[in-house]
Amino acid sequence: MHRIERDRARFREIVRGRLRSDLRKYLSTSELLGRRGEHSVTIPIPQIELPRFHFGDNSKTGVGQGQGEKGQPVEGDAKDGEGAGGAGEEAGQHVLEVDVELEDLARMLGEELELPNIEPRGDKALVSDGGRYSGVRDTGPKSLRHFRRTFRNALRRTIAEGVFDPTAPEVIPMPEDERFRWKKRAPKPDSSAVIFHVMDVSGSMGREQKDVVRIKAFWIDTWLRSQYQNLEVVYIVHDAVAKIVDQQSFFSLRESGGTKISSAYELLLQLVRDKYRPEDWNLYPFHYSDGDNWSARDTEKCISILRDELLPRVNQFCYGQVKSAYGSGQFKKDLDTGLEGEEKLVTASVNDREGIAEAIRLFLGKGR
């Protein structure tokens, strides 16, 4: 029924408009986190229903049916304002949830923050080996023999030779009748990327700091997902030592203790050397910390790992410094002075939730 599809498309357009105008709000709250599925995000849209004069809260009494003495709680939720099926029609209370494609959301983010699309890295554009078995040719392995084509050729030949007998059909394929499937090559531009989310979980990173990281990670994921078909995400946490964790722990862990940032960079380097080689992957490490490192010596070590090993290999290295009550914020200054002029390094400081949008813009604004 295409008529309803038009109305539905219009509804979605309105929802998108609403979402678009509220995007800044979503950029600083954790409302959307945990609502993400494989391809879409479920977003609660308040206030899309038209307002009307209807009954409010104090009429939350009504007539029900069932057993139970006075004072016994009523099971099953009594619908708002719905006494006997009459007043419930307004349904103005609940929040509507709509599914928005991740791609749509990423596009909105792109428009809002004026993000450029990511350009292929260098000139050796990575090519992945695409293609499907949609071709046919004369030679090939038996396992790929195209039975129908082969049989057709044999039948045609048998008839042409005049030996086909419809009452006792017998068709014997000869080698020249055989046809085989083969893979038509369709080289695809590279589509693999890996994000490393590296977070400092030392004692000074509190709940609020982690929330900021979480929201930022969500939007960065969303954006990069729209740019790459195949995206892997690796979560690394570190205090004085670094380790790989799953997503759940990444956001909930609270370690304490000192901070040795070089431990994380070493782990990163090891991963980039062994598993995610730059020939095969577009690499996006993001490091979040409050900027309080153990010693100046360790900071120097970090700078040299970055300059000599990591930066040449990655697409871009982002360092986001979240302001905390305890952190000195020294690390960002050290990076900025120690690695001045390095194009692939982007640093940003985030003072509070409001600063998230700007930091994302800095990180993703270069189109690398």
Partner: protein, 451 residues
């Protein structure tokens, strides 16, 4: 709609058989056109209020999205839809089992009989299918002339007001017309019955005090002619759907009473009895916090039958409120385990407050009276000599939802082009709310601009 919609032969045969049995039992209905649709299509029809052709609106898309998500997740399922037209169109869902098709056909005949005979449906236009299509054409033309955004914004502001109606107006006017002279005069002048009725509906409502605020606005609001046309359309459709609000329990009860009676009276195959029992009890199940109109309705008709009352007379003269008033008594409340629930302020829980029949009945009547809507009257259209509107909410213990009321008032004020005030109460305290279209002011008196 995609695909064929006519019934397959064996169902057509069943339909004829069930219609014959229904008529023999005393039901009286006009032609019922059964059509088969897919589960998705029936959701689209439901979003359109049962009509395949409506004006374009995002709200239908929203309702469809909600319904169809319910279907995909297996949370809700629609078996049939029937609309009050002549012939009555009934949409059966293709995925129903044979037993379910028989059940819903019998159910639909109950509705068709109800539409034809219940007095509250007498004023409704049985050619609503054409009118809805006509409304669609008009609104699409308005969109062509004035742009989608302008039309959509105005429609939204009109729909905000679509429950500011007088539920008793159509029947009052209908009786007046039927009673006499107007009809004869109208016919003599060559005007159709509908045209006369339309005039009657329009003219009566243009002066305060009136509850037909939408009617007042449609005639008196200072808007462009095309906008006035939209207001009239919204009003006509709102009044068309109103009787269904006022008779939901009766209508569903009547249809369930008859599908049960007809199917267990020989239409069911022995192999279908268990499936029927399962389906029927599912439709009439009630959970403690949620009164099922099918259940309440069927029980009221069964009680009426036990008492030896004339069921056909009852279905003709009552609406939900008056039917409850007639049937529900101590015995009924006890037998059906009805109770009053409320929020316990101390624990925040919803719990059983009372099982006393008088309290239960009082509450039921409150919920069902005035079509379940707040009773709001326009009492003055020239307040303080400045052309401001004054509305009065006849408070019956149930407060308005104030933030929505404020938005509604704002929208109304923009439409009217001057300030609008409403008098309501918050618990026992008088509250006035005023809006000049941009702001809202609340207080114990109507807000007066400092002059």
């Amino acid at each position: 709609m995609a695909g064929k919609t006519e019934l397959p032969p064996q169902l057509r045969h069943e339909a004829t058989r069930i219609e014959r049995i229904a008529r023999a039992a005393g039901l009286d209905f006009g032609e019922v056109a059964f059509e088969m649709v897919d589960a998705r299509d029936v959701n689209a029809l439901a979003a359109y209020g049962g009509f395949p052709v409506r004006y374009p609106s995002w709200r239908f898309g929203m309702d469809f999205e909600r319904l169809d998500k319910g279907r995909q997740y297996g949370l809700s399922r629609i078996y049939e839809l029937v609309i009050n037209t002549d012939p009555a169109y009934a949409w059966l869902v293709r995925t129903n089992s044979d037993m379910e098709q028989k059940l819903v056909m019998a159910h639909v005949l109950g509705h068709a009989d109800f539409f034809k005979h219940n007095v509250w449906f007498q004023p409704t236009d049985r050619r609503m299918l054409d009118r809805m299509a006509d409304h669609g054409t008009r609104i699409r033309r308005a969109i062509d002339l004035h742009g989608q955004d302008a039309v959509e914004a105005f429609m939204d502001s009109a729909l905000v007001l679509d429950n500011l109606l007088d539920p008793f107006l159509p029947l009052r006017e209908h009786m007046k017309v039927r009673a006499g002279a107007t009809r004869a005069a109208g016919e003599a002048a060559g005007a159709s019955f509908e045209a006369v009725r339309e005039r009657a509906l329009g003219s009566s409502s243009s002066r305060p005090p009136t509850f037909d605020i939408l009617g007042f606005l449609a005639e008196r609001a200072p808007v462009a002619e095309w906008q006035r046309e939209l207001l009239r359309i919204v009003r006509a459709e709102a009044y068309y759907f109103l009787p269904q609000r006022m008779t939901k329990i009766m209508n569903e009860g009547w249809a369930s009473f008859w599908h049960s009676r007809i199917l267990t009276g020989g239409v069911l195959d022995a192999s279908e009895v268990v499936e029927f029992a399962d389906c029927h009890s599912g439709a009439t199940a009630s959970s403690p916090g949620n009164l099922n109109p099918y259940k309440l309705g069927i029980e009221m008709f069964r009680t009426a039958e036990e008492r030896g009352l004339d069921l056909f007379r009852l279905r003709r003269v009552h609406n939900d409120a008056s039917f409850v008033d007639e049937i529900v008594d101590e015995d009924f409340v006890a037998r059906n385990a009805l109770f009053l629930f409320g929020r316990n302020g101390r624990t925040g829980r919803t719990e059983v407050v009372d099982r006393e029949a008088r309290a239960v009945k009082e509450r039921l009547l409150l919920d069902l009276s005035w079509g379940g809507l707040p009773q709001i009257e326009l009492v003055d259209d020239d307040h303080a000599g400045r052309g401001e509107l004054v509305l009065r909410h006849h408070h019956d213990g149930r407060d308005l939802q104030l933030s929505h009321a404020a938005e509604t008032l704002k929208s109304l004020s923009r439409l009217w082009g001057a300030s609008v005030h409403i008098e309501t109460r918050e618990e026992a305290n008088v509250r006035w709310m005023s809006s000049d279209g941009a702001e809202i002011r609340t207080g114990e008196r109507p807000y007066e601009r400092a002059s």
